[in-house]
Amino acid sequence: MRPEALKGHLDALLLAVIADGPAHGYAIIEELKRRSAGAVALAEGTAYPALHRLEKAGLVDSRWSTDAPRRRRVYEITDRGRRTLGAEREQWARFTAAVESIFKGAPWPAG
């Protein structure tokens, strides 16, 4: 998947990973790659400005962790972030259902 195709969806993908539990940047990006079986290939450094943006929007919280051998920032989803992720999932499901209908030649919305 080309990085520019990801640009509009990166925030939601990061939220989906962080929703499973607090994690630092490297672990979040590795999990993103693992879940997409490597299909999501982004310049890894560009995920950090996106994480900062999510934090500024109040969708994630972050803190410095001292558990690791060096200082690292740990990100955690907020209640607002969970609500936003729910809305994003719903919107994505509607979008993919519409595209599926078009590809299959069936009318939409079905039912």
Binding site: A43, E44, G45, P49, A50, K56
Partner: protein
């Protein structure tokens, strides 16, 4: 201490970043931790130390790209902040002007009143334009620098109108025979409070302009589309949130059918901005004249005098709008195409 390859990459990233010191420190600490983690993993997979560092640096991405993403996030956030504080100042100003001209028994001089009359319209129009543009891109991860520049320009003109009008009002001091009136004191205090709100908004605008300039240093992209595109996208996005999916699709299809209608295409307002300006100017003039006649009643000298007064009001309002359109239309991106300073 990280290895040589990672340190060189971090030095390049530090040089490329155009962010405040606090963000820079955090960005570099996170980048260092990320690169060390990645290099460790590559070493664990069997690569030598230099190869592992090189692979980590390659996966991290070009420093210029990472720095651009930081600049995009900051510029977008600053423009949204400028919109919030700008809108608050313009609303406060419009409320003050409304109270001062409609409700207060204390009035400013004719000149201060005239300045306020046009300043309110300019401020509200420009604030509306910038707000629509900012709202349209509110959830976007990045906004082209050309569009951010237009948002900032709208706020610059809106706040300029506020400042000029407040200056005239405060200089005038509502002094015409109203010394000692509690209304006079209240209006001057309200004008001073609005001036403070405008000063905060100007600070937000200066920050946004700076961040936009920094972003343009990384990637200067044109705004793309016009103000009607922004309005359409915003309306469809709002409809998508409140209407069922089928209804939104039908509304969009109806809007497309209307735009494709022979009569709409013949008028071609989008490709003839002066036609659009003439339509808006006449509609605004007619509204002003109708409001005046409804409020003041017909002229005592008869129907002809009433029509003459209305015609003069239409002409003044329409001429003012046309003059503003001629002066500010290109600057605000509502007349002609936007040209990036770098492509000019």
């Amino acid at each position: 201490m990280a290895g040589r390859v990672i340190e060189e990459h971090l030095a390049e990233l530090a040089a490329a970043l155009t962010v405040p010191p606090r963000v820079r420190r955090r960005a570099l600490l996170e980048a260092r931790d990320h690169l060390l983690c990645a290099a460790e993993q590559h070493r664990g997979a069997g690569l030598g130390d230099d190869e592992a560092q090189a692979a980590a640096v390659r996966d991290h991405g070009p420093p210029a790209l990472v720095a651009q993403r930081y600049a995009e996030a900051l510029a977008h956030g600053a423009a949204q902040l400028a919109t919030v504080v700008g809108l608050a100042a313009v609303i406060a100003f419009a409320a003050l002007a409304g109270v001062a001209t409609q409700l207060s028994p204390v009035h400013a001089s004719g000149l201060a009143d005239a300045i306020a009359w046009f300043a309110v319209q300019i401020a509200l129009t420009c604030a509306g334009l910038s707000t629509v543009r900012a709202l349209r891109h509110r959830r976007d991860p990045a906004v082209p620098s050309g569009k951010l520049r237009l948002i900032n320009r709208g706020w610059a003109v809106a706040l300029g109108a506020v400042v000029v009008s407040l200056g005239a009002t405060l200089a005038d001091g509502y002094s015409d025979g109203a010394a000692g009136s509690p209304w006079r004191t209240a209006l001057i205090v309200a004008a001073a409070a609005t001036a403070v709100a405008a000063a905060v908004a100007l600070a937000g605008l200066v920050l946004s302009a700076r961040r936009t300039r920094e972003l343009a240093g990384h990637a200067d992209e044109p705004a793309g589309g016009d103000a009607l595109d922004d309005l359409r996208a915003l309306a469809l996005s709002a409809a998508g949130r409140v209407l069922p999916a089928g209804a939104t699709a039908r509304a969009e299809a109806a809007a497309t059918r209307i735009a494709a209608h022979r009569a709409v295409r013949a008028v071609a307002l989008r490709s003839h901005p002066w036609r659009f300006c003439a339509l808006v100017a006449l509609a605004a003039g007619a509204t002003v004249a109708a409001t005046h006649v409804a409020g003041e009643g017909p002229a005592t000298q008869g129907l002809l005098a009433t029509v003459a007064v209305a015609a003069v009001l239409v002409a003044i309002e329409a001429a003012a709008i046309a003059a503003c359109f001629a002066l500010l239309g290109s600057f605000l991106g509502i007349r002609g195409g936007y040209r990036s300073p770098r492509s000019a």
